[in-house]
Symmetry: C2
Subunit: 110 residues, 2 copies
Amino acid sequence: MEKKSKIILPCDEKCPVRASLTLLSGKWTLLILFQINKKVMRYGELKRAIPGISEKMLIQELNMLVENKLVNKKAYPEIPPKVEYTLTELGLKTLPIADKLAEFGSENLI
Amino acid sequence: MEKKSKIILPCDEKCPVRASLTLLSGKWTLLILFQINKKVMRYGELKRAIPGISEKMLIQELNMLVENKLVNKKAYPEIPPKVEYTLTELGLKTLPIADKLAEFGSENLI
DNA sequence: TAAAGTACCTACTAAATGGTTATAATAATT
DNA sequence: AATTATTATAACCATTTAGTAGGTACTTTA
């Protein structure tokens, strides 16, 4: 009698999907990256581009993304203040993920 | 004097990225779909495949995925119980998203 | 004189997520 | 005879995440 034991390789902390999700799995994260995209976006523009997000979440996520080097922040010492956000090289590399989300959404959900 | 007004198209409830994220943005969701992949996975196998997830979250997410028709559930009326999970056609269509997450993770995070 | 716009920050509340323990029923293993 | 394995559900509390409301400091517009 043979033992049929299925080999399961557990996805631990080195699993690439898990690592990506640790960084990107928030409710708003990928949407913000997608909205910035290849553009230069100011804080207020992003706020208007993403109706429904609270100012707190937007600034919190932007700060997180800057910390994790997905987004560049350029502040001008002017009054009224002017701050521009762009994607870093690393941030640009998340766009294919957002593109797949967009593809799945438009083909199956909308 | 010209007015430079940048046109911003707000991403509302019909934005495909948003619609996808509403369904998939959880911390574990895409990881579970990725683990099931093209296989037939039992509850216990998934539990071992995703170390760190609590039983509660796993069953909660599986129920949600079944409800949203991304996952099929086949329960055998046996004792001890045996339940098999597979991806539906719709669920299979989320795999490209997980693949991009895996790609991003292995190239930039690991 | 008042309101609107700019990019935030802080305190508080609400919701989502996570963890633990207990329960079920029965076959196979120790 | 007791333990382990199986797939859940339910109750409870702790923690994390998200949302709400208000304020700051200054300028321009009405």
